[in-house]
Every structure is written in structure tokens, then in C-alpha cells.
């Protein structure tokens, strides 16, 4: 679409080869990420959202393999075609990951400052000791951690502090794209709010785009400015977050939003009937058709194209006739 995008994903496919067959965890996903944009990607477990997030940085592990597509990063080219050395240069410097459950991603026997220094030194080998120390102090301060945290080990920190350390590491080289995989899923609400406020302020300061992956619709509504919905390895809808919540178009998005409880009104709780397909055996046509209340004639036969409709992308036969 737009040429100003900092990240363009075209028809990305990530498959797992298993004994039972090929699992199409990400099956033809395309989207753009504009500079400074906060894109939330939601989906149920097994929808492929975490696989997608990791594959963008080629951090996916076997048996996952990239089966096709492009990941075009501004100034770098296609991430999927990078040589190993260039790939390492790209990571952290231009695209960085804030992992799921940061508490478990820190090295337990290394002081925080050394873990921060590790990434910076790899990319800036000529930095003097003083410059490095100043940089680490600056990073800690930016995520609102006291300076003495640098001398501590991960087990001495609370969950929220560890998550802040992960943000400090991820943003230490001011990457243009930050990928955050359920960054606050294990935290209490008050701490979650603080950590997300920190992530937002750092992201604004350095002007990075953020792709945040998760299943908490409330968190996405509050943090993201655009939101994508994944189902069975496909992106079924992508829209500005306010439009998506006010007027969801894809039947799955509608049901997903209706199934989220709120404290604003008591109502009977409706789930989505049926269960998500196993990705080995995805139903033919639209993968959502066996559960879809609006199913009609072409749905079990043709895979819906992703079309631009009403300022958003949606992959549903209901809207196909509107594109001429």
C-alpha cells in the first residue's frame, strides 16, 4: 500500500512440518506498519499470532519454517533474505523483540547492567566505558527504573521491574520497529497499566512503530491505534482501533468483541460457538465458516480475498461484491 511504511509484510507464510502433516500457522498474511504506529494483533491461542511475531525477526524455531512471502524493512530490504551477519546487525538495531514473560527471558546469573551492555556493545563495539555506562543509566531512567537496578540480578526484581528491563533492552538502540509478544500477560492490572504507560512513552520518544501481539482485547483497545484480528493463520480484519470496536465487519471480529466481558453492563455471556480448527486440518474455503452465523453459499468453497472496505482490510465474502 503506502510507500512510507517502515515495515511491509507481503503474503507471509510460516508452516510447521509435523508427523501429522503441515501446520499452516501463518498462511498468507499481509500488512503495513507506518512509522510510530501501534498495531495490535489479537487472536485466540493457536491463531498464529506469536509465530508471526517471531517470524518477522526470523526468531522462529524449527520445525517452523518460512514457506513464502516478504518482510520488507525500511532501509534493510527483505528480512527473509538477509545473510546471517546482516540479520544479527538488523536485530535490536532496527527491529527488536520484547518477549512474552520477560521474567523468564533474562539471564538469571548476569547483572542487569551487563545484560543491557551486551546488546549495545555488540552493535557499537567502539563505545568507551564511560559512554556505555551513561547509556545504560539513560536506558534505565527512561523506563523509570532506579539506577541501582543495574547492579542487581533478575531474581532481586519484581515482575514489573523485569518487564521494564526487557523494554530497556529492546529499546536500547532505538529500533524503528518494536515487536512485543504479550508483554504484560503475567502482571497485575495496576502494574500492567504502569508498564504499558512506560512502553508507550518510550515508543513515542524514539518514534518506533510497535507491533503488539496478545489476546487481551481491553489492553489492545487501550494501547493500539490499529488492530488486526487473526483466525487460523489468516488476518481476517485490520482497521483503526476505534472503527474496529465501534463497527466490526468480519463476523469473527463481531463475535470476539461481543464475547469480551466489561464492567459497564451485566449481560449473559456468549462465547463463540464451536472451537478453533486445528491448523493441520483447516476447513476449506473461509476457515471460519463452520462457526460463522452469516455463512452463505461461497464460504465453504472459496477462500475469501482480503479486500479494502470502508477504510479497513477485511477477508469475508460478505463484502466482496462491494469491490468493483
Amino acid at each position: 500500500m503506502s510507500s512510507a511504511a517502515v515495515l511491509t509484510v507481503n503474503d507471509l507464510r510460516v508452516y510447521y512440518d509435523t508427523d501429522a502433516g503441515t501446520v499452516k500457522a501463518v498462511d498468507g498474511v499481509s500488512f503495513d506498519l507506518q512509522p510510530g504506529e501501534r498495531l495490535g494483533l489479537v487472536g485466540e491461542s493457536g491463531s498464529g499470532k506469536s509465530t508471526l511475531a517471531l517470524a518477522l525477526m526470523r526468531l522462529h524455531k524449527p520445525p517452523a519454517r518460512i514457506a513464502g512471502g516478504e518482510v520488507l524493512l525500511e532501509g534493510t530490504g527483505d528480512v527473509l533474505k538477509l545473510e546471517d551477519g546482516d540479520l544479527r546487525q538488523m536485530r535490536l538495531d532496527q527491529m527488536a523483540l520484547i518477549p512474552q514473560g520477560a521474567m523468564n527471558s533474562l539471564n538469571p546469573v548476569m547483572r542487569i547492567r551487563d545484560q543491557l551492555a551486551d546488546g549495545i556493545r555488540t552493535h557499537m563495539p567502539n563505545l568507551s566505558r564511560d559512554e556505555l555506562r551513561n547509556r545504560i543509566q539513560f536506558q534505565l531512567k527512561r523506563v523509570e527504573l532506579p539506577n541501582d537496578v543495574g547492579g542487581k540480578f533478575p531474581h532481586e526484581l519484581s515482575g514489573g521491574m523485569k518487564q521494564r528491563v526487557a523494554i530497556a533492552i529492546g529499546t536500547s538502540l532505538s529500533p524503528s520497529v518494536i515487536i512485543a509478544d504479550e508483554p504484560t500477560s503475567a502482571l497485575d492490572v495496576v502494574v500492567q497499566r504502569q508498564v504499558m504507560e512506560t512502553l508507550r512513552s518510550v515508543q513515542k520518544e524514539i518514534g518506533s512503530a510497535v507491533l503488539i501481539v496478545g489476546h487481551d482485547m481491553g489492553l489492545m483497545a487501550q494501547f493500539a491505534d490499529h488492530m488486526g484480528v487473526m483466525y487460523a493463520g489468516k488476518l481476517v480484519e485490520l482497521a483503526p482501533v476505534k472503527d474496529l470496536f465501534a463497527n466490526p465487519q468480519h463476523p469473527y471480529t463481531k463475535l470476539l468483541i461481543e464475547s469480551v466481558p466489561t464492567i459497564r453492563a451485566k449481560r449473559s455471556l456468549v462465547g463463540i460457538p464451536g472451537s478453533p480448527p486445528t491448523l493441520i486440518n483447516v476447513p476449506p474455503g473461509c476457515p471460519f465458516h463452520p462457526r460463522c452465523p452469516s455463512v452463505f453459499e461461497p464460504c465453504d468453497r472459496d477462500v475469501p480475498e482480503t479486500i479494502s472496505h470502508d477504510g479497513r482490510l477485511v477477508a469475508c465474502h460478505l463484502y466482496e461484491h462491494e469491490t468493483a
Binding site: H215, G218, A221, V260, P261, I263, R264, L269
Partner: protein, 350 residues
């Protein structure tokens, strides 16, 4: 009114360390009760470290209290005879957070259903046992033919969780202690399981203690709620009062920190977060929340506030409401609404 389960000044202190004993008060002086005649869903909500899971374990008899008592049908749980203890274990059933950990992966799921039938002698014959099991599975919306004979990993998380609910029904339990039953399942399935819990109360008259950190689901399924902070009740009452119109500064902070699934509502618009929400230590005297409270005044540092009943169906342990009558913990149930009863309006009678 028969009191089914009560706690009287229930306290649990965990100690750690050999030389310097470090003590953590997980539950402090908790008095509450659940009666038998009117099934209810009571939510116990709080963040990590609030003592909610410890309370669940105390009620289930998994751990013993440091002081105080859990009283089952008028008798202290520690003094039950063997026969009474069996009844107690049958009538109060747990549902845990991770439905996978409740199963032994080497046994078929039938095992968690056939074992209690045999242990408690619920059926005279194999045929009758099968009939009971199928009936219980039907009630939770599981097809017996698609569930029995399978291994736990062959069922989805929601199905495993529903098997545990079926087990409670099979045992004709009176109370289910559900500790974060939906925190590991997806939104679409969460609604289904919560609706199941609600129907269990409505159709089978089983009471539920719903232990959670998630005020949103608590609001949706519970009649009443206790908000716990560092082992003490800070606010109690109907969910309509406590969650829609919180009075204790801690409850207010919790409610305003919920990310609303609506981008038009700003997150945390109601106030800033003061203090360190992850601090482990609490003030030795006074209100436990005093170090984080934006409204604290002198008295909060010196005295521990009792529960003040500032509304017919709500009490808050906060000196801001010191003009209202004090509510004794053993009459805590007075602020709870009965299911279906209209929400009382106005100030407490005085």
C-alpha cells in the same frame, strides 16, 4: 439459616528463613460465611499477594490455619470425624486455574470421574455409575461419547475445565471453590465456562466462591464480592456497589486500571498510581494501604481501620467513611445482596 461454611478470625502466616525468620501474613483475621439456603456466587478478588489463593487452600482443607478456624456445618474442620471429613471433602470441590494440572496425564479422563464414584460409594453398580457420569457430563454440555475414553491432552482446555465441573456435580457438591478458573482460556471460551458456572448456581443450587484477579469477570458472574489487600478485606458488598462505584482508594485504583475493551474510554483516567504496587512490605501499624494511598491522613498511619458500612450493600475499611456505622466482620454477610433481590437503595439504617 444454616451456616454451611464459616471462617472465624482465620489467619495464615507463612514463615521463611532459618536464622532471620521472615513472616508473611497471607490471610489475617478473616471472618465470613456461606449459608446453605440461598446459593450465591461470591467473588474474592485481589492481586498477587492478596491472600486469595491461600484462603481457597484453607477452605479446602489443603493447609491448616495458623490461628482461627474453618467451620463446616457448625464444626471446626480440624475436629471432624473421619466420616464427617469425607462429607466435607465431597461437598466442597475445587476447580483450579490450569485444567491440565488437575489431571494425571497417564490416565484417561474417566479416572477423575470414576474415582470419586467409587470412593464415595455413589453408585451400586457399574451401570449406575456410568449413568451418573453421563448425566453429569450432559449437564456441562459435553458429549459423553466424545469425552470418555480419551486422555487429557486430547481434550481442549475448556473441555478439561468442564470435566472438573461435571465432577463437582457428580458428587452433588454444595460449594465450588474456583481459583482463577478462566485465566488460562481464550475469550470466546471464557464466556462459555463462566456461563456454565452461573447456570450451576441457578439450576443446581450450588454456591461458588470465585477467586480471581479479574474484576470484570467477577462483576459478570458474582452476586457479591470481597476485595482483599495483603490478607485483609478492604471492601465488601454487592458487585454493583463495589465495582461500579468503588469507595476504598485501593478498589478505586484497581477498577480504574482495568483496560476497558473500548478505545473511547481512557485507561486510568481516574487517577495516578501512587507508591510501588509491587512493594512486599506493608506498614507495621495502621492501614496496610497507607503507603500507596493518595488520600492518607494521620489516623491512617496509626490505626487499622475497621469496616465502615457506608451503604446498605457495601462496607469499606477506610477512615474516609468513619462517619458510617462500623460493621463487625461476623456480620459481614449483611451487606451482601441475595440473588434476584432488588438492589437496596440509600444509606444504611441508623
Amino acid at each position: 439459616m444454616t451456616l454451611f461454611l464459616e471462617t472465624v478470625n482465620l489467619t495464615k502466616i507463612f514463615s521463611a528463613g532459618i536464622i532471620r525468620r521472615r513472616q508473611t501474613v497471607a490471610v489475617e483475621n478473616l471472618t465470613m460465611s456461606i449459608d446453605e439456603d440461598s446459593p450465591t456466587i461470591l467473588a474474592i478478588a485481589g492481586e498477587s499477594g492478596s491472600g486469595k489463593t491461600t484462603l481457597a487452600r484453607l477452605l479446602l482443607g489443603v493447609i491448616a490455619p495458623t490461628s482461627g478456624q474453618v467451620i463446616y456445618r457448625g464444626q471446626s474442620v480440624e475436629e471432624l470425624s473421619r466420616k464427617q471429613r469425607r462429607e466435607y471433602l465431597r461437598e466442597i470441590q475445587p476447580i483450579f486455574q490450569d485444567p491440565f494440572e488437575s489431571f494425571n496425564p497417564f490416565y484417561k479422563v474417566d479416572h477423575v470421574l470414576t474415582t470419586p464414584v467409587a470412593k464415595f460409594g455413589l453408585a451400586d453398580s457399574k451401570a449406575e455409575a456410568d449413568r451418573l457420569i453421563e448425566q453429569a457430563l450432559d449437564m456441562v454440555g459435553l458429549q459423553p461419547s466424545e469425552t470418555l475414553g480419551r486422555f487429557p491432552h486430547q481434550l481442549s482446555g475448556g473441555q478439561r475445565q468442564r470435566v472438573m465441573v461435571a465432577r463437582a456435580m457428580l458428587l452433588r457438591s454444595r460449594l465450588i471453590v474456583a481459583d482463577e478458573p478462566v485465566s488460562m482460556v481464550d475469550a470466546s471460551l471464557r464466556a462459555t465456562i463462566l456461563e456454565g458456572i452461573r447456570l450451576m448456581k441457578r439450576d443446581l443450587g450450588i454456591s461458588v466462591l470465585y477467586i480471581t484477579h479479574d474484576l470484570t469477570t467477577a462483576y459478570q458472574i458474582a452476586d457479591n464480592i470481597l476485595i482483599m489487600y495483603k490478607g485483609s478485606v478492604v471492601e465488601a458488598g454487592s458487585v454493583e456497589q463495589v465495582i461500579r462505584n468503588p469507595k476504598h482508594p485501593y478498589t478505586q485504583l484497581l477498577v480504574s486500571s482495568i483496560p476497558q475493551p473500548d478505545p473511547e474510554i481512557a485507561w486510568g483516567a481516574d487517577g495516578e498510581i501512587a507508591g510501588d504496587p509491587e512493594a512486599l512490605d506493608v506498614a507495621a501499624t495502621g492501614c496496610k494501604f497507607v503507603d500507596r494511598c493518595p488520600l492518607a491522613f494521620d489516623r491512617c498511619h496509626s490505626d487499622h481501620p475497621p469496616l465502615y458500612r457506608e451503604h446498605l450493600s457495601r462496607a469499606a475499611a477506610c477512615y474516609l467513611y468513619a462517619d458510617s456505622p462500623v460493621l463487625d466482620q461476623d456480620t459481614l454477610n449483611e451487606v451482601f445482596v441475595l440473588d434476584g433481590a432488588p438492589e437496596p437503595e440509600g444509606d444504611p439504617a441508623r
